[in-house]
């Protein structure tokens, strides 16, 4: 069980499955964060995304985040699954589930997890727009690496 708490997968993610890993009699609160593919970012329309990962290291970094959470919130239990590959609009990219005895911690620990994912987990997002594509370079979307090479035929995969 323990080693499946932190996963990178190329399959669709079930929110219920991730959540089920942290539900327990001591917990009165579970928070989920679900990151979905947003259609518009700053007025620019996304057609779909591709996520690429360094999977073995990404799972280790997710487990590290879980350990950090347990140090900060000893009663919290965390499970995280991140999807890679092609994702269409509104598909689920990541699910974070945190259970705690009391609710305040469940929100704080969950938000901590998503912030850390965006700092240390080797997963990269490539946005595919109507007229091009780009690797997104960081959380704040201030760095990007336009490929300069539209790949029109990919839009109809």
């Amino acid at each position: 069980m323990k080693d499946t708490l932190y996963r990178v997968t190329d399959q669709p993610i079930s929110v219920e499955d991730v959540m089920a890993k942290v539900i327990r009699p001591e917990a009165g609160a579970v928070t989920n964060f679900i990151g979905t593919v947003r259609e518009f970012t700053k007025g620019k329309r996304t057609l779909y995304l591709k996520y690429e990962a360094y999977p073995s290291m990404a799972e280790k970094q997710l487990a590290r985040i879980g350990k950090e959470i347990q140090e900060k919130w000893p009663e919290a239990r965390t499970a995280i699954t991140h999807r890679i590959g092609r994702l269409d609009i509104s598909e689920i990219a990541v699910v974070i589930a945190v259970s705690t005895p009391h609710r305040k911690d469940a929100y704080a620990a969950n938000e901590y997890a998503i912030e850390r994912i965006k700092q240390i987990v080797p997963i990269w997002k490539k946005e595919h727009y109507e007229n091009g594509e780009e690797w997104i370079g960081d959380q704040l979307e201030t760095v990007s690496y336009p490929s300069g090479k539209p790949e029109g035929e990919e839009f109809h995969d």
Partner: protein
């Protein structure tokens, strides 16, 4: 031999998802200088050695698996 894994934007710069270096030993700093000179990779790029983030002064050795980690964008 040191194996170098390339992802995302880096893979497009090197043209490959894997490089092999002949070095027996190499600091992270020297490795990044080499990658910069050969492929134009940013010298501030993060580096992982055997799946752990490394510091500029850390040494990679033959048999290690190294990864160039551009700014991440998961979540």
């Amino acid at each position: 031999m040191i194996k170098v894994l390339c992802f995302a934007h880096i893979k497009e710069l090197t043209g490959s998802d894997e490089l092999l270096l002949e070095n027996e030993e190499l600091t992270v700093q020297d490795f990044l200088q080499d990658m910069h000179d050969r492929y134009g990779i940013n010298k501030d790029c993060m580096v992982a050695v055997n799946e752990e983030y490394a510091e500029p002064g850390d040494v990679m050795k033959s048999g290690d698996t190294v990864a160039l980690i551009p700014p991440v964008s998961g979540g």
